[in-house]
């Protein structure tokens, strides 16, 4: 089949992209989802706090998803469920498999990548020890509890202070499990402050900073986890080991954009963000292929994910309508002082630049975000590695720029 725009993935980014692609003039839009329902990971995020910015509502994940799905249903976007995309070519031909349609081939005028991210697992951080049952990523445990109705364990240690781990600390406590503690290798938490308060402090669950797991024991099932303090180089300090008896270890140690398909399409991947090198229109390095949400870079909140979905959907529609060129001049956007991560990577002179910035080190004082050229200075009350800063530079200010934009965070 031939379509104007094909969107891969129906989480908040993909749903929003599909709605906006149709709304921005694409005549035929398809949405491909490998699961049996639309909504992506929102369906298992049953806590509230979603959509505060976008809808001025305090939704739970499933409510947020259902609201987007209702918006989608008012369009004629065609959804393929249970449909796994197995191949994506640089000339935008999608091969997908589904029990209902068999193997299908879709040739798309433009494509939006919305596959989201994956959790880092034990292999990514290399915890020594045995390999028993009872070690889960936090998101897998979330799925077990919130969708499948299973409790994954009774005595639980959580490694890493990512938001999903914090959510699960509260959730498992409510369901009657004992969460012994959350152990974070860094000297600051990686989850949002309000989640530390509402998920840990509210339930007297201790957070141990500068600690990591240095061993796992147990043959069939986890019997204990060894926890050690780490020094300023994040190396375990000998003599600080303590064995904590537990039956479950949850890992909340980071997320990585899921770019298997992007790479098949020949999209250039950034070593810094682990996602496609993107412009402010969410264009990747392959003409007609756009990216959004957590497959682009891992965001903190759903509102930002949806915002990039809206941009990607609109850009994909403009591309297929001949209103957006796939190969336009651009300048790079490069990190300066105290910047760990920047998104997007390039500016291609298509209007305002919305910049997402992650600080390298926390600054609990007013800061200036400096973007130079053009010499814009934006003030923020603080900069924290666990909360992306978002600033908008008007397109008019950037029109004459010919050199890379350097972004720095400085104490005001």
């Amino acid at each position: 089949m031939e379509v104007d725009v094909a969107v891969i993935g129906s989480g908040p980014a993909g749903l929003t992209a599909a709605i906006h692609a149709r709304g921005s003039g694409a005549r035929s839009v398809v949405l491909l989802e490998r699961e049996e329902e639309l909504g992506g990971i929102l369906k298992q995020c049953i806590h509230n706090g979603f959509g505060l910015e976008q809808f001025k509502q305090d939704y739970t994940g499933p409510e947020y998803a259902e609201r987007l799905i209702q918006d989608l249903e008012e369009t004629d976007v065609q959804c393929f469920l249970n449909t796994l995309v197995t191949d994506l070519s640089p000339d935008r031909v999608i091969t997908a498999l589904s029990p209902e349609h068999g193997a299908i081939e879709i040739s798309a005028g433009s494509i939006v990548l919305g596959m989201g991210c994956r959790e880092r697992a034990r292999g990514s951080i290399g915890i020594p020890g045995t390999r028993p049952a009872g070690i889960f990523t936090a998101g897998v445990a979330q799925r077990f509890v919130n969708i499948d109705g299973y409790l994954p364990g009774r005595r639980i240690v959580i490694l890493g202070s990512g938001d999903i781990g914090l959510m699960m600390a509260r959730r498992l406590t409510l369901e009657g499990a004992r969460v012994i503690g959350v152990y974070e290798i860094m000297g600051y938490p990686s989850g949002l402050k309000r989640n530390i308060v509402q998920c840990l402090d509210d339930f007297d669950i201790p957070l141990h900073l500068s600690h990591t797991a240095t061993g796992i024991t147990g043959k069939e099932r986890v019997e204990g986890v060894t926890i050690s303090k780490v020094d300023s180089d994040l190396r375990a300090v000998k003599g600080t080991e303590q064995l904590i008896t537990c039956d479950t270890l949850l890992l909340s140690v980071g997320l990585i954009p899921e770019n298997e398909l992007s790479q098949q399409a020949g999209v250039e991947i950034s070593a810094a963000t682990k996602g496609p090198v993107s412009t402010e229109t969410m264009a990747t390095s392959v003409p007609g292929v756009y990216t959004c949400g957590n497959v682009a870079t891992v965001f903190d909140i759903v509102d930002h994910v949806a915002q990039t979905g809206a941009t990607a959907g609109a850009s994909a529609a403009r591309y297929v309508g001949g209103r957006l060129n796939g190969d336009v001049p651009h300048v790079d956007i490069v990190p300066g002082e105290n910047v760990r991560l920047l998104f997007p990577h390039r500016y291609s002179f298509q209007g305002d630049l919305l910049l997402f910035i992650r600080a390298a080190e926390p600054v609990e004082k007013p800061v200036t975000v400096e973007v130079s050229p053009p010499g814009s200075r934006i003030t923020r009350p603080y900069a924290r590695p666990n909360e992306m800063l978002r600033v908008r530079i008007p397109g008019a200010k950037l029109a004459e720029v010919r050199h890379p934009l350097k972004v720095s965070i400085r104490e005001k």
């Binding site: 049953i46 969708i147 009350p381």
Partner: protein, 124 residues
């Protein structure tokens, strides 16, 4: 009645001000660390009765999934969470359920209802 010191992290906005409060029971005598006026109301409520939205799941029959997500439709006293959880463990819904359907009304005398946070059609 004794004068006490307490520490709060305000969660009204993402800044998360760290606030030290001197109070006599729920009466605020002085507080410092807040960057705006909204924190005072938050701290007053925290001293009086911490209120939260409860989100959890309940069992459901006849649907694709064995559980359905629910929440309170307004904040309820945090100290009642264990009681609400015990009560919700005992109920089982029957599909179909629509989003925002009231599952339990006025749970544990809190004036809050338990509502479904997604739709779940009946499985054929």
């Amino acid at each position: 009645m004794t004068v006490q010191k307490s520490h709060f992290v305000c969660v009204v906005c993402p800044i998360g001000c760290e606030i030290d409060v001197v109070h006599e029971d729920s009466e605020i005598l002085s507080m410092e660390g807040q960057k705006c006026d909204k924190s005072e109301e938050y701290v007053r409520q925290e001293l009086l009765e911490p209120m939260r939205i409860l989100t959890t799941t309940v069992r459901i029959r006849g649907a694709r999934w064995p559980v359905i997500p629910v929440r309170t439709d307004g904040p309820v006293p945090k100290r009642l969470f264990p009681r609400l959880m015990r009560q919700l463990k005992r109920i089982e819904l029957q599909a179909p359920v629509d989003m925002l359907d009231v599952v339990v009304s006025d749970i544990a005398g809190t004036d809050a209802n338990i509502v479904a946070t997604r739709s779940m059609p009946q499985e054929r």
